[in-house]
């Protein structure tokens, strides 16, 4: 109870600080605020996918459905953060450079992650039985794991060599004022905690559902 309240207070407090206290980055202007939400969302997208994939592999190894709960939960929450990151990134791009989507390397990478999340969840939704769903989606996850580094790093570079973009996107290192850095890391920690909290809820629900079904379904 207290943890939850603290978490919300933390995020709320630092969000206010993001608007009221931290200065603007000169080149970004008012859009500076986006970086406090967009970058953590992207970070959690990657974290969630990694968490999901690791638990998929653990499920295949140990065959305990708790691992599947984690894999599925992390994917379901991760896709929300992925959509948030993609949407916020797109709006930011529009504000900064005038167009919603450019297929620049980062946009391309986040889009491919969205595809992988969607594909994984689509596989799950096409299977009714618990064990089979856990196993087959874990196998897909493991195969996708191989594709991820290629999709994140190699494909965007290839795209760029095919379509050299006249628009220059200076998204590299932003020399951050200490106040910006503080707010940024505080919100990064806050959102990461939010993710894990949501995940723990989702895992608990899955476990309770299973126990409930087992209790009705017939004693062994």
């Amino acid at each position: 109870m207290i943890g939850r309240a603290l978490l919300f207070a933390w995020i709320a407090g630092w969000t206010i600080a993001a608007f009221a206290w931290a200065p603007l980055v000169p080149v970004l202007g008012e859009t500076t605020r986006v970086l406090y939400f967009h970058i953590p969302a992207a970070w959690i997208t990657v974290l969630a996918l990694g968490w999901s994939m690791v638990h998929s592999l653990l499920y295949l190894r140990r065959r305990r459905l708790e691992h599947d709960d984690h894999a599925a939960g992390a994917a379901e929450i991760g896709i929300l953060f992925c959509i948030a990151a993609t949407a916020s990134g797109s709006l930011w791009a529009k504000a900064m450079w005038g167009s919603y989507w450019n297929w620049d390397p980062r946009e391309t990478s986040i889009f491919f992650l969205l595809l992988i999340y969607a594909a994984y969840l689509a596989v799950r939704s096409a299977i009714d039985q618990d064990e089979r769903r856990a196993r087959l989606s874990a196998i897909y996850s493991a195969a996708a794991f191989v594709a991820v580094p290629f999709l994140m790093f190699v494909v965007p570079r290839i795209y760029f060599s095919l379509h050299p973009d006249p628009i220059i996107n200076p998204r590299g290192k932003i020399d951050m004022d200490p106040r910006i850095r503080v707010v940024f890391f505080a919100l990064l920690i806050g959102f990461t905690a939010l993710f894990f909290w949501m995940l723990s809820l989702r895992v608990r629900v899955a476990r309770l559902e299973r126990r409930g079904l087992a209790a009705q379904g017939g004693a062994s």
Partner: protein
């Protein structure tokens, strides 16, 4: 491959189920069961419809991983790996389907070649003869009656001369003549192999030396 299986003396083959239980989702399809059977001989697995006879046979064949418990097949005292299981057992069940666009002989030949048998054509011919299908070997499976397909299943199970035979409802689709032939087959093989029959038919289970009774009505009964 077939030479290896024939050299195994029947007494050294032991099939075991240890606390095996299987669930389909939340429902229990196969109630907890344990047993131990050694070659040679005939064991019948009996139980009401839905009690999990077919499920148990699939688990014994290595086709299905049980929710709980394990099965083991020991040959010459050494436990075989689950991935190797199908080398030592012959499986015939109603859910065993053949490639309908291929002939009976081609299906068996594919099986023999995949298993790495040394003289596949010879083995196929013998298997077909043993179930009296030698004249229909070159017919496509679609042209065979259900009784003949059942005999083909038995041929498939015997093809690689395994020490253990698992048969699920072996009398299904067989007419009196076919059934008589099948009984003859069992009587001929029972001195050399362990034969496990899952059945509801009294005339089939009376052939057995021992019985395993499956409890529970499995999926047929609501909570």
């Amino acid at each position: 491959m077939s030479a290896t299986a024939a050299m195994v003396s029947p007494e050294s083959v032991v099939l075991e189920a240890r606390e095996v239980l299987h669930r389909y989702g939340p429902r229990v399809g196969l109630e907890r069961v344990s047993f131990r059977a050694a070659a040679p001989g005939v064991v019948a697995i009996r139980g009401a419809n839905g009690s999990g006879k077919s499920t148990l046979l699939r688990i014994l064949a290595g086709l299905l991983r049980p929710t709980e418990g394990e099965t083991a097949l020991a040959v010459d005292g050494a436990e075989t790996k689950r991935s190797d299981r199908s080398r030592w057992i012959g499986y015939a069940a109603p859910d065993l389907a053949f490639y309908s666009e291929l002939t009976a002989a081609e299906n068996l030949r594919f099986a023999a070649e995949s298993r790495g048998m040394e003289r596949p054509d010879e083995a196929v011919r013998q298997a077909l003869e043993r179930v009296h299908l030698e004249s229909r070997g070159d017919d496509r499976v679609t042209a065979l009656s259900s009784g003949m397909v059942q005999r083909l299943r038995l041929a498939f199970a015997l093809l690689h001369r395994p020490p253990v035979l698992l048969m699920d409802e072996p009398g299904s689709f067989l007419d009196e003549e076919g059934r008589g032939a099948w009984v003859g087959l069992v009587q001929a093989q029972r001195r050399e192999r362990l034969i496990v029959i899952a059945t509801n038919e009294e005339r089939e289970w009376t052939l057995a030396d021992e019985s395993v009774e499956l409890r529970g009505r499995g999926l047929g009964r609501p909570a």
